[in-house]
Homo-oligomer: 165 residues x 2
């Protein structure tokens, strides 16, 4: 890791620590399909309500650097495949946080018994994310044309990415 | 249409009319990722809570022949793409109900302003569905390996299917 930080699971009571990162992501609008007016309670419910689990990356001083959520990609007969979503605070970009979150999530997903991990909605113009997932063994298994309204690029494709665990 | 029936939108108060069809689908377990113990209230919430809308195909005598739900495939910056799910009662198979539901849903999706329709989870071994969607202009834009636990075939692939509207 390029910076001293640790990753731990958090519950709904600590969700607010990650909220500033959400606000950055919502303001950019370039990588998530969340509504621009998603509020703290809505975000907390999405990220911490079972079966979803949330993990936070913190600097030694306590600063929130990034977070991810982990859960089944589908219920029922599809719940052996995990899904995860990741965010990194802008102030922590380029410091290995995304890589550490991705590796941590793969380990946690294996521990939880998932057989694979799938991302349903990787914005194709989000080169940093596509590169990061590819480096960690994810393949593009689907491409949906014009499924994301990018704030500056207009309608862009999204990728479905997947790897076995 | 091969049989006289009509399709209309219904609300949560009429959901129970479709429940026998759900029970057949859950018992077969071959096409949906729903938990086998999904109950009436859970199914009603999934199919009739906004932004989802539910439509029912009924024979002239009132018998429920099939149903579909329509809504955005994603929230926020992905909500210009529709998603729909369909069920046909076993007693009504081969009578054009699936075709009619599909055509009805495409019309409703266009009316609602959607620009495209996407299915995230078409079980690859569900040949009747894959054939029906293909005939109605849907292309396979993704294939996720082993994402569905088929009750008799084991782990089988799922397709992501898509068409512009």
């Amino acid at each position: 890791m390029d910076r001293d930080f640790s990753i731990r699971e958090i519950g709904p009571d600590e969700f607010e620590r990650a909220w500033p990162i959400f606000r950055e992501v919502l303001a950019r609008g370039e990588s998530y399909n969340y509504a621009a007016d998603l509020n703290l309670d809505g975000a907390r419910a999405m990220w911490t309500s079972p079966p979803y689990r949330m993990f936070l990356a913190e600097a030694d001083g306590g600063e929130a650097l990034g977070c991810y959520k982990l859960g089944p990609n589908q219920r029922g007969r599809g719940d052996h495949v995990a899904n995860a979503s990741y965010m990194v605070a802008e102030a922590a970009w380029g410091q290995g946080v995304g890589t550490a979150l991705c590796e941590h999530s793969l380990t946690q997903a294996r521990k939880a018994g998932f057989l694979a991990m799938q991302f349903n909605y990787v914005v194709s113009t989000n080169a940093a994310a596509v590169h990061l997932w590819s480096k960690h063994g994810f393949a593009i298994v689907g491409r949906v044309p014009e499924a994301f309204r990018h704030p500056t690029l207009g309608l862009v494709d999204i990728y479905v990415m997947h790897r076995m665990l």
